[in-house]
Amino acid sequence: MKAERAGTKRDGRWLGLYVLAYLVFLYLPVLLIPLFSFNDSIQAAFPLQGFTLQWYETLYGNPALSGALVNSLVIGAIAASGATLCGITVSYMDLYGRSPLAATISAIARLPILIPGVIVGISLLILINLIGLGPSRVAIVLGHILVALPTTVVVMRSRFAAIPRSVREAALDLGASDWTTFRRVMLPLSLPAVLSAFMLAFLISFDEFIVVFFLAGTEPTLPLYIWSQLRFPRSLPTVMALGTVILAVSFIIAGTAEFLRHRGLGAARRNPA
């Protein structure tokens, strides 16, 4: 027994080292971008040539860049609102709607996970041309609602499912209408998850490239701007400075979303009423 326990402990230590190496593999390539964004050379190669902030200075006063940034922020906010609204309603009706239609909608809403981005992109490209919209910011919003939908549905569904059924039943028994129960009881209880779903959907939209490539008209989003700059070796350091800013902001938003999601779940378990 003792030997066995020592054995599993040793296994755990080896596995721990492996996990550490895995995390290094996961983060090292990504961390090269901030590293070289401060490097005083146009080439991303070792040895480093000295510290500089000049690439960050080139980010200022660049109308194409700021236009793309504003586009991405606006599209991200609208698409995240849409995806969160759909995520809330779809998962709520899936759990409490008791209709085959609601269950079907919920199943289809999670389907985009099984469709490669390129096919989502071209199917929407055909659709928006058919209804006369054409490649535009509205088209991008529709595409990003679709891409973020599985995430918002999963986040909201697990949150609603964690609320004890008795809470909703009590509200209904006390005479609250469906609408009041939803708005005054269920929605406030899942507010952290709503915020988390919104933030994750925003991040998905903000970083999305594969679908937006097909749907963008004359106003590019930030990833499209980056893609257009990658062709020019001279602009690579600027791209890396921009990438560093995006990485930092993404990390902060993702961290906050994760924190909110867990705090919400923890609070629900500790204090079910």
Binding site: P29, G82, I108, A109, I113, P116, L130, D173, D178, I204
Partner: protein
Amino acid sequence: MSTLVAAEVPESRSSSGFRFAMLLPGALVTFLLILFALGLVLFLAFRGNDGSLLGVGLTVENFVTVATDPLYWTVTLRSLVIAGLVTLATVVTAYPVAYYLAFHAGRRRGLLLFLVTLPFWTSYLLRVFAWKIVLAYNGVLNSALIESGIWSEPTLAFLNTPAAVVVTLAHAYAPFAILPIYVALDTIPKSLLEAASDLGARPFTAFRRVVLPNSMPGVLAAALVVFVPTVGDYVTPAMVGGPASTMIGTLIQSQFGKANDWPFGAALSVCVMLVILVVVLVARGADRRFGSRT
């Protein structure tokens, strides 16, 4: 049972206006943007190309071309091999991490879960671009090898190869694989492991005969969520793959771009979806086989 009956009563008051309002957004998005849009792709795949939006006539010519032109077989096969290798690599490397998270992480579990999922939410384009920096002719790997004296000349052998595509995709999709496996491992009852060791199974036997089969649903789910996006990827082959790693996603993208043959691109998309359907069904079948064993 009694709660079910009690819930029945308020449910009957359910207002149709509320139901309509709650079902509307989801119905619009799923039926119009998903089902109708995919239906359009299927429809277009059976049309001829005359430069108009929805093509002309009714034809299977697009599929005949896909089936008879060896180019499409080569590219499809290459996409399957690359996506298969990426899936294998991500699942095999992710499994020990998920295992550690489920059985050894202890108090560090929350932090580790956060750390492995964090890259998931950061720009895919930047993650691919990072590998371009690593693998380029004057990139990090070459300069590191020369600095350390292992190599005397920088080599072109890293970038623009199918191997570069595999490594880059495996890195980009690594976080996708860990979570499903972790969830599967975490839900194995600890009593099963104790029973195995009480019955005299050595740790490795217990792992092979108890833990591994029980975690297969998670492994299959992980394989699916890695395989699907990689098989249709066109960004990574374009950035680090070079001409020798053209994938099926690249071909679809060019049909809707430079080549401008939408019906043919739609036919290619239908073929990719069929391939994915087959993979999903195989995974389902395997899942059921393992599911019945538990």
